[in-house]
């Protein structure tokens, strides 16, 4: 049992992170906290992806020392970790940042209009103004 838990410890960590993020996104009243939850959620996914690319005992996928003169050397696949999740996550990180940016911009719009970022207060203001 313990072996099982340890052998997949990366999953447990990201699952916990993701649950925290998801809870914040849905359950929190403060809009900024929701946004932070979103970031935690996305980070959890990024961690998950990157952890899938790991090979025990391997190094970063940069073929140092394999300049032009050494091209004939045999490359051992097991020596380098899987580059693809990294590539995907570079894209995902950018997407996450972009989303955060747009979200913050809407938050600014919301704040300008209601002078608060608490969801229940905003709903109250909207009810009072009859929208």
């Amino acid at each position: 049992m313990l072996d099982y838990v340890i052998s997949k410890y990366n999953f447990w960590i990201y699952i916990i992170l993701m649950m925290i993020g998801l809870y914040a996104m849905i359950g929190k009243k403060n809009l900024v906290k929701k946004l932070i939850g979103m970031n935690i959620f996305q980070s959890a996914i990024i961690l998950f992806y990157v952890s899938t690319g790991v090979k025990a005992g391997a190094t970063v996928p940069i073929l140092s020392g394999h300049g032009h003169g050494h091209g004939h050397e045999v490359i051992e696949v097991a020596k380098y970790i899987n580059p693809l999740p990294h590539v995907l996550m570079l894209t995902a990180i950018v997407v996450s940042i972009a989303t955060t940016g747009v979200a913050i911009a809407t938050l600014i719009l919301i704040y300008r209009k209601y002078n608060t970022l608490e969801e229940d207060e905003i709903l109250m203001i909207r009810k009072e103004t009859g929208v």
Binding site: I26, I45, A92, V95, A98, V102, A103, T106, I110
Partner: protein, 500 residues
């Protein structure tokens, strides 16, 4: 030649969107003709692609020349070419329509508006055309981000709606991304065709099951399926007219397309039907969406808000067609993707035109609109009848196939939901038609003198740029109905996976 078109369809609007700020900086009013002119190219290319696919069958296009599982490829089969035509056609129509609406509502923001408009279209077409699950995610985010921003600049309450959409939409997108991760971990591949080959032996794996669950939930969020639809009504309703006319017909439909693609192409249909009971759940959710959307729509007095709930119900239609998981139902679902896109586009365009001309969307204030805007209202009426399911308008035919599908699957309640929904639609739309065409029932202003009633009502039709797309859409509603047999026999029956 068609291979080049496949690339053009993404690259042209993308590059063009980069030029919009340049052109806008030089002369602002040139943005509109530029966008319209640019969007003609994807339409032509998608038609040519559809033609190629129909004559020679499916083909793919390798980007940067790398072989599929390593590089990214575009896959053009009947289904994607078909949806591509819908997307490019409707976006062109909405672009033509947008002129006055943008001038009127967003004069300051013309340049970023059109840039994002093109990016949104690019994103949607990218989703449809790509053959790589991760590439699909990227395009999904492009369309989503531009959509968030475009919604946020709408009327009162729009930023809040947009923020909710961002949060829930991101949950959806992240679930989808997680699904990709799980598939990748179990198979090592990201290419759809490749995945379809690798997956069958792994169908018992828990990883695949979880991946499938995340895909389904993520896409259901994106498609606005009940009960994950909570973001949809506010977001679509508060968005500017030109934006809601673009996203209401297309966003949910494209998500539904991805659902069909994943469930029936990446996964084998028998996995989706036999191993996971997902279709029973989805079907019932769709029934609830139809009922809930219908009831909420009945409670609205605002025309656009009513339509927005109708969108929720219409998503239910498509999902029912997917969930019955047989040839007829899926034919109905794919046909309904097209029909509903055209109908919704027409209805939202009309609503926008009414708002532009009369400044109101309240249903009971629409009296005498048949005199003021005869063509707009005629288009509205035709589409409304189609929504009710009156032949030969197109709505009838998709409903027909959907009901045949539910009967074949023995799901009587689903069939009943579909039928009830047409009755609800009848109530909804005839309420509007009564208000617009007939004398007001309570003569509210009759007390200040009888002669006001007999006053000659001047024709005050929507501007030409609005009217043309509206009329084309309305004509489309009829023509697509009449030629639905042709469309099914030449395109859709090949778009339905062969294993049915």
């Amino acid at each position: 030649m068609a291979e080049q078109f496949a690339a053009l369809i993404i690259v042209v609007p993308l590059i063009a969107s980069l030029f919009v700020p340049v052109i806008g900086w030089w002369k602002k009013r040139l943005c509109y003709p530029w966008v319209v002119a640019v969007l003609i190219i994807p339409l032509i290319s998608s038609l040519s692609i559809l033609n190629t696919v129909m004559t020679t069958g499916k083909f793919s296009y390798r980007l940067a020349g790398w072989a599929p599982p390593w590089g990214i490829e575009y896959v053009l089969d009947h289904l994607s070419a078909f949806v591509l035509v819908i997307v490019s056609f409707i976006s062109l129509m909405v672009a033509i329509y947008s002129k006055k609406s943008v001038q009127d509502n967003l004069p300051e923001k013309t340049v970023p508006f059109y840039t994002l408009f093109l990016l949104l279209v690019t994103g949607l077409m990218g989703i449809v055309i790509t053959g790589d699950v991760f590439n699909l995610f990227v395009f999904l985010e492009i369309s989503a981000l531009s959509c968030y921003a475009l919604i946020a600049i709408g009327e009162e309450g729009a930023p809040m709606a947009a923020f909710n959409y961002i949060i829930i939409g991101t949950i959806g997108a992240c679930f989808y991304l997680l699904g990709i991760g799980y598939l990748y971990i179990a198979t090592g591949s990201l290419n759809m065709a490749d995945l379809a080959n690798i997956l069958p032996p792994l169908y018992d794996s828990k990883v695949i099951l979880v991946a499938f669950a995340f895909f389904t939930v993520g896409l259901a969020v994106k498609a606005g399926l009940f009960p994950m639809h909570t973001w949809l009504p506010d977001a679509y309703c508060t968005a500017p007219s030109a934006v809601s006319a673009l996203i209401a017909p297309l966003m949910t439909k494209v998500a539904a397309y991805v659902m069909i693609r994943l469930m029936f192409t990446v996964f084998q249909p028998h996995f989706s039907i036999e191993i996971v009971p997902v279709f029973t759940i989805l079907g019932w959710l769709a029934v609830m969406a139809i009922v809930w959307g219908g009831i909420k729509a009945l409670a609205q007095t605002d025309l656009k808000r009513m339509l927005v709930y109708v969108v929720v119900a219409e998503v239910g239609y498509i999902v029912i067609g997917v969930s019955v998981a047989n040839r007829l139902g899926l034919t109905g679902a794919i046909l309904h993707i097209m029909n509903d896109a055209v109908m919704m586009a027409c209805l939202f365009l009309v609503t926008g035109a009414i708002l532009y001309k009369t400044g109101t969307r309240e249903i009971h204030q629409l009296s005498h609109l048949n005199k003021k805007m005869p063509f707009t209202m005629a288009a509205f009426t035709i589409t409304a009848l189609s929504m009710v399911g009156i032949p030969p308008a197109c709505g009838f035919f998709s409903k027909w196939y959907l009901i045949l599908g539910t009967i074949e699957a023995g799901q009587w309640f689903w069939a009943a939901a579909l039928l009830c929904s047409s009755l609800i639609n009848a109530v909804l739309f005839f309420r509007v038609i009564e208000c617009a065409y007939l004398k007001p029932m309570e003569p509210a202003y009759a007390h200040d003198g009888g002669e006001t009633i007999h006053e000659e009502i001047q024709r005050d039709e929507a501007p030409f740029t609005m009217l043309v797309p509206i009329v084309i859409m309305a004509a489309g509603v009829i023509l697509l109905g009449i030629f639905s047999g042709k469309i099914i026999s030449s395109v859709i029956q090949f778009a339905v996976p062969a294993s049915f």
